[in-house]
Subunit: 214 residues, 2 copies
């Protein structure tokens, strides 16, 4: 499969790229917004695709051409305003869904957030962010795409443990970003994860085993 | 019908209340957030309902009990932050849809904005607001409710003219709030407007005539 990673310059995006870079089964391309980010990926031997989530659906569909699967792991981040939460995390995300449909790409993996589906669990300080993720997920569920929504707990910058669980009552409340990236790679071909939303925290199951048991 | 106006203290809300207050066919109640707003409606002979769009779906369903139709004309307004755009204009609105479904109320009238469905027409400075309205409308279209979405052009604080059009190429770009309120009242019982989105600007047709021809 030819995979397009949207948000390739983000922390999870970079890990997905690095895990897929030398894969024999898949080819990966890095969608980024800035010329200098594109150059950096080029130098690292990864084909970049320049496109902006604030652009049109048509531009995004053009950027996706030739891809078999989309990984959406972009985020406006904590340092920008809530305008970007609305324009990137919500509308930008939904535009990529519409673009994928337009480009005839059906496989779509969304990195969401734990409890994005349940507004009674949204932390007070970042509720507006959860609103954006909630409705992006809703639109994906209402799309025609073969999606998998991953909903990881608190993201950690530490080496992956390779062990996770979807049982959020039993598991921990967090998960290393590297493990999230490994789950993205593991679900790419897993048809049993199509049209499902999967909560994800560190736990006791090997990633392959967890994915098989979805 | 017993009508609940959400955003009753807003400029369009007040006009809807005043047009329905002495109606023989309908009873109207004013949903407001603050005690002093409730008292003001009470004094004016309109039954108030205290509820907060940042509350739970269950609280909103409770507030709706006994209503036959919901009019949503609330807005976070220009003086609050974009957190409220996400929490009120988008999530608050969708919570009232879920609450209406929960309370068994099927008729729902949403005041949206002209071109909310078409992101290529969103004015640059207030794009984030349009994102919120766009996805609130989308959720309503995907709900089980008998909705009518009204999408008025630029809202004017001048007396109503009683004449409007849905032909946005032919009409003006704006419309008095009083005329929007009159259209809300006119569509309440109009089954031909169920599950439709209607653009609305000042034009050459009498309101009743326009509604009949939807």
């Amino acid at each position: 499969m030819n995979i397009l990673v949207i948000g390739a310059n983000g922390q999870i995006g970079k890990q997905v790229i690095s895990q897929l870079k030398d894969d024999k089964e898949h080819t990966v391309r890095a969608m980024v917004r800035k010329e200098e980010q594109a150059e950096a990926f080029n130098k690292a031997g990864v084909e970049p695709v320049l496109a902006n989530l604030e652009g049109t659906v048509e531009e995004l569909a053009e950027a996706m051409k030739g891809s078999d699967a989309i990984v959406f792991t972009a985020g406006s981040g904590g340092s920008t305003g809530l305008d970007k939460t609305l324009l990137i995390d919500l509308d930008g995300a939904v535009k990529t869904m519409e673009a994928a449909e337009q480009a005839g790409i059906s496989r779509y993996i969304m990195v969401s957030a734990l409890y994005a589906e349940d507004r009674t669990r949204w932390p007070e300080q970042i509720k507006p962010y959860y609103v954006a993720k909630h409705y992006a997920d809703k639109q994906l569920e209402q799309s025609s795409l073969q999606y998998t929504i991953l909903r990881p707990g608190g993201l950690l910058n530490e080496p992956g443990r390779g062990k996770v669980t979807t049982d959020i009552e039993q598991g921990e409340s967090s998960i290393p970003r590297e493990d999230v990236a490994s789950v993205i790679v593991a679900v790419l071909n897993a048809e049993n994860t199509y049209r499902k939303a999967i909560p994800l925290v560190s736990g006791e199951h090997l990633i392959q085993e967890m994915v098989q048991n979805i």
